[in-house]
Amino acid sequence: MIYNLYIFNRKGKCLYYREWNRPQNTLENAADDGEEQRLMFGMLYSLKEVVTKMSTDPASAGLHALKTDSYTLHHLETGSGLRFVLNTDNNAGDLRPTLRQLYSGIFVEYVAKHPQFNPVDGSPIRLPAFDSRLEEYLRSLACFKS
């Protein structure tokens, strides 16, 4: 089951957030004001430091996934510093190929090539065509609802 998706840029600005089957919702708390997103990025940022330090080959030390008792966080960081973060339950399997497809097949085509997207200033992505394509793709996955 897919819970939610974050896209961050290199500086930690959350460019995009969507949620689907999210049982516990910290965002319903109106006082949140992006706090959750900052915590998420802060964690990934620190984790990267640790992962890089512990790796025998610092050049290839990417975080793939993070698993807890109740959910799995799937993570893809691109060379351009974008981070795609997809949270699911623990039965979804390896979603790295999914995140890659999301990046090359959907993000590049519908966001990077869109004149309204500005890769430098980190303004949020508000593009209906991207929304619907993303929705269609994720809903087509076997792990979306089950």
């Binding site: 500086k11 992006g34 351009s80 090359s104 090539k113 890769p119």
Partner: protein, 191 residues
Amino acid sequence: MATSSKSHQRTGEQAWGKISKVNAELFTLTYGAMVMQLIQDFEDVGAVNKQLESMGYNIGVRLIDEFLAKAGVSTPCTDLKETADVVAKVAFKMFLGVTADVSSWNGDGTAFSLLLYDNPLIEFVELPPQYSGLLYSNLLCGVIRGALEMVQMKVSCRCVRDVLRGDDVNEIRVELKEMMEDVMDEDYKEG
């Protein structure tokens, strides 16, 4: 040393095979029409050069994601030498259909030249004498600067030789200014 120049060449050809294409003449003529329009709008060759570079920059910062997603260069470049090779053999091939040669490294390995023998932008073009200061292909400099900036390399690029101005090859000089650090947004500053 990671991947060799030969295998980059192959990667470039594969990327070129996969990517969607436009008619070369249409591309060249459209670029020419755009440069003409800029000359009319700005009336000053220096301003046109600057505008071309800045347009290129805006292309570069977007194009990098398509490159990273589709070029099939799987591992990050380990040093500037590899970066130069990937730009010349993979990126140029993927987006323009031609490859460039890397040459003239400086002593400490922070600057190199890209030699473009077959520049699709300048097909059919002749530079009238009153525009001899025009850097017709300056857009390419901007693209390289923008794309590399998105992967944390601040470089400066300039056209040093230009076939249109009577040289025998197009040469773009690329100089590494600094490797940028990851800086977090102001939202994360302790308040």
